[in-house]
C-alpha cells in the first residue's frame, strides 16, 4: 500500500461542549474517492477547514502527504460551492484556470507558453474550450463548476477537496460535473474528499463514505455505512435507508439534523422531502425524481 495522501489520527473537534467528531482515524489513499456525508452542523465543512489549516483540532493530528498541514497547500486542489461571480469581474474562464496553475507566484500575470498550453489542455479536458474566453460572470452555474473542476486539477494536485460543488446545479449538471471529477482523479490518481449532503449524484464513483452525525462518525463502503441500523444508531433514533434503482434515500433523520434543511433551492432535497411525505401512501421513492 502506498503512503496515504491524508491521515487523521485520533482527531477530535469540539466547540465548547459540542463535539463534532471524536477520535477520528482516517487514511485516504491516492486515487481514492471519499464522500463525506452528514447533516448540517455535523462538522463536514469543519473537516475541510481542518485539512486546509484554517481550523485547529481540539486534539489529535492531521497530516498531508506525511507532514503536518499548513495554511493551504499547492498539493491541494479545491472546488468551492458554486457562487456566481459578480458581473464585471475581470476574469475569463481561462484566467480562472491559469490561477490554478500559477496564481500563487509573485509578479505580473504573463504566462509562459507551457502554462498557456496547460490551460488549453485543461479547458479541453473539462469540455470548456468553447467558452475559454468568456467572462466567468457570464457563465451559467454548470459551466462555472466545470471551469472550477479544471482550475482545481490544473496543477496536478495530490488531493482534491470538494465542498458541496454540486449544490444549486440541476440534475444533468450534477451528473456531468461528478463524472468530470471522477475522470480527473482517475487520470491523475488524485485522492478526492467530497463533502456533500446528497450522495446520489456521486454514488457510482465513491469508494468509501465518512458519515458524520450526532457527534459520531462511521467510515466504510457505501453499502457498509448507508444502512438503516448504522444510521439509526448514529442519529439515536429510527432512520430508514431505502435503496431503489441505484439511488439512496435517508428517511426520518431528525429535524435539525435535516437532510433537507438547505436554504438553496435544490431539486434533490425537494424531491426527497416529497418522497418522505408520500412514502407511506405510495411506497415509491423514485416517483418524484426528475
Amino acid at each position: 500500500m502506498s503512503e496515504p495522501v491524508l491521515t487523521l489520527r485520533a482527531a477530535t473537534l469540539a466547540f465548547g461542549k459540542r463535539q463534532l467528531w471524536h477520535n477520528l482515524n482516517l487514511a485516504v489513499q491516492p486515487g481514492e474517492f471519499l464522500a463525506v456525508l452528514g447533516p448540517n452542523g455535523s462538522g463536514k465543512t469543519s473537516l475541510l477547514k481542518t485539512i486546509l489549516g484554517q481550523q485547529r483540532l481540539s486534539s489529535g493530528s492531521v497530516e498531508l502527504l506525511g507532514s503536518p498541514i499548513r495554511q493551504g497547500s499547492r498539493e491541494i486542489g479545491y472546488i468551492p460551492q458554486q457562487k456566481l461571480m459578480e458581473d464585471g469581474t475581470p476574469l475569463r474562464a481561462r484566467d480562472l484556470i491559469a490561477l490554478g496553475v500559477d496564481g500563487q507566484r509573485w509578479g505580473l500575470p504573463f504566462h509562459s507558453r507551457a502554462v498557456r498550453r496547460r490551460v488549453d489542455d485543461v479547458l479541453e479536458a473539462v469540455g470548456a474550450s468553447d467558452y475559454g474566453n468568456v467572462s466567468v460572470s457570464k457563465l451559467s452555474g454548470g459551466e462555472q463548476q466545470r471551469v472550477r473542476v479544471g482550475q482545481s486539477i490544473a496543477s496536478h494536485p495530490k488531493l482534491l477537496l470538494c465542498d458541496e460543488p454540486l449544490i444549486s446545479l440541476d440534475l444533468h449538471h450534477q451528473r456531468t460535473v461528478s463524472e468530470l471529477i471522477d475522470a480527473q482523479r482517475r487520470a491523475l490518481n488524485t485522492a478526492v474528499v467530497f463533502v456533500t449532503h446528497d450522495i446520489n449524484p456521486i454514488l457510482p464513483f465513491v469508494d468509501r463514505v465518512l458519515y458524520l452525525a450526532g457527534g459520531r462518525f462511521s467510515v466504510g463502503t457505501p453499502d457498509d455505512v448507508l444502512r438503516s441500523e448504522v444510521l439509526s444508531s448514529m442519529y439515536n433514533t429510527p432512520v430508514e435507508v431505502i435503496k431503489s434503482r441505484g439511488r439512496i434515500a435517508v428517511l426520518g433523520a431528525p429535524e435539525g439534523y435535516g437532510v433537507h434543511d438547505h436554504l438553496e433551492h435544490h431539486v434533490e432535497s425537494a424531491a426527497s422531502a416529497v418522497a418522505s411525505a408520500s412514502i407511506a401512501a405510495s411506497g415509491s421513492v423514485t416517483g418524484t425524481e426528475n
Binding site: Q54, P90, L96, L99, G103, R105, P109, L161
Partner: protein
C-alpha cells in the same frame, strides 16, 4: 455667457503656462498610471467606499498639517495610513467594513473642517485639499509624490498575480496557500498611499474619479485581466493629463475637468459594452452567448 465660457476654457498665453506646469503634468501622468493600475483591484475587492473613507481621513491629516505648519503630504499620508489599516484590520467582511467606513468618514471630515476653520493662512490652500489644485504643488512636494507613487506602482506589480487570485477567488487562493490576509492588509496600505498622493492633485472629494472610474469604465468593455489594467491606465491618463491641460488656462481647479473627462469615458464605455453584449459582432464569445440564449 461668453465670460463664463472663457473662464472655463482659456488658452491665452498657453505656451508659457505649459512650460510653468510641466512638472505638474508629469506628476499628473504618474498619478494616472497609479490610479489606473490600482483601480481594478479596488473594484474587484469591492473597496470603492473604502477609498472615499480613506480620503476623508487623509483630508483630516492634511488639514492638521496645514494648521500646524508641517508638511501637508506627510499629514495626508499619516491620515490615509491610519484609516487604511483600521479598515483593513477591523473590516474583514464587507458588511463590517462598510459600517466602519461610515463611522470613520464623517469623523475624518469633521476633524478636517475643524483644522481648516482654525487655519489662518491662504484660503486657496484650504479648498485645494478638498477639490484639488495641482498648480500650487511645489517642487519638494512634487518629489515626495513621485517617490510614493513609484513605490506603490512597483509594489503592485510585484504582488500582482497573487493579489489578483486573492481578490477574485479568495477561498481557492486560501486553499492554495496564497497569503490572503497579508496581501489584504498590504493592499490597504498601498491604497492608503495612493489615496494620499491623489488627494494632492484631485482633492479628497474627487479621488474616486481617479481610483475607481477609469477601472469601472475598463471593466465595462473587457474581461481580460491584462487589458483591464491597460485600458484603465489609458483612461486615467487621458483624464488626468487632459484635465490639467484644459484647466491651466483658466483660474479654476483642475478637478471638474478631470472628473468630467473620467465620467464621459465611463459613459462611452457603458454604451460600447452594452452594444457589444446585444449585437452579434463576430467575436466568438458573443456568438457563443447568443447561441446559448437561443438554445
Amino acid at each position: 455667457m461668453d465670460d463664463l465660457w472663457s473662464q472655463i476654457f482659456n488658452f491665452a498665453n498657453y505656451g508659457e503656462l505649459l512650460a510653468l506646469v510641466k512638472n505638474s503634468i508629469l506628476a499628473g501622468a504618474l498619478l494616472g498610471v497609479l490610479g489606473g493600475l490600482i483601480g481594478p483591484f479596488v473594484m474587484s475587492r469591492d473597496l470603492a467606499f473604502a477609498v472615499h473613507g480613506v480620503s476623508e481621513l487623509s483630508f483630516a491629516g492634511a488639514s492638521a498639517a496645514l494648521l500646524f505648519g508641517v508638511n501637508v503630504v506627510a499629514g495626508s499620508l499619516a491620515g490615509s495610513l491610519i484609516a487604511a489599516v483600521l479598515i483593513g484590520v477591523l473590516g474583514v467582511r464587507a458588511r463590517e467594513r462598510n459600517s466602519i467606513i461610515a463611522v470613520l468618514m464623517p469623523f475624518g471630515l469633521g476633524l478636517g473642517i475643524l483644522f481648516l476653520a482654525l487655519y489662518q493662512g491662504r484660503s486657496a490652500n484650504k479648498f485645494g485639499l478638498l477639490i484639488g489644485q495641482i498648480v500650487s504643488v511645489d517642487n519638494p512636494q512634487l518629489l515626495s509624490l513621485v517617490i510614493v507613487s513609484v513605490v506603490v506602482i512597483a509594489s503592485l506589480l510585484l504582488i500582482w498575480r497573487p493579489l489578483t487570485f486573492a481578490s477574485v477567488d479568495e477561498d481557492v487562493a486560501l486553499a492554495r496557500g496564497v497569503p490572503v490576509v497579508a496581501l489584504s492588509l498590504g493592499f490597504m496600505i498601498l491604497l492608503g498611499l495612493a489615496v494620499a498622493v491623489s488627494i494632492q492633485i484631485v482633492g479628497a472629494l474627487l479621488v474616486l474619479a481617479l481610483l475607481v472610474t477609469p477601472a469601472a469604465a475598463a471593466m465595462r468593455v473587457t474581461a481580460s485581466p491584462l487589458l483591464t489594467p491597460l485600458l484603465s491606465v489609458a483612461f486615467a491618463l487621458v483624464a488626468m493629463v487632459g484635465g490639467i491641460l484644459l484647466a491651466i488656462g483658466g483660474g479654476l481647479p483642475i478637478s471638474p475637468y478631470v472628473t468630467t473627462i473620467s465620467f464621459l469615458i465611463y459613459l462611452v464605455c457603458r454604451v460600447v459594452g452594452s452594444r457589444r453584449a446585444n449585437s452579434d459582432d463576430g467575436a466568438p464569445s458573443h456568438r457563443y452567448l447568443k447561441a446559448r440564449r437561443l438554445s
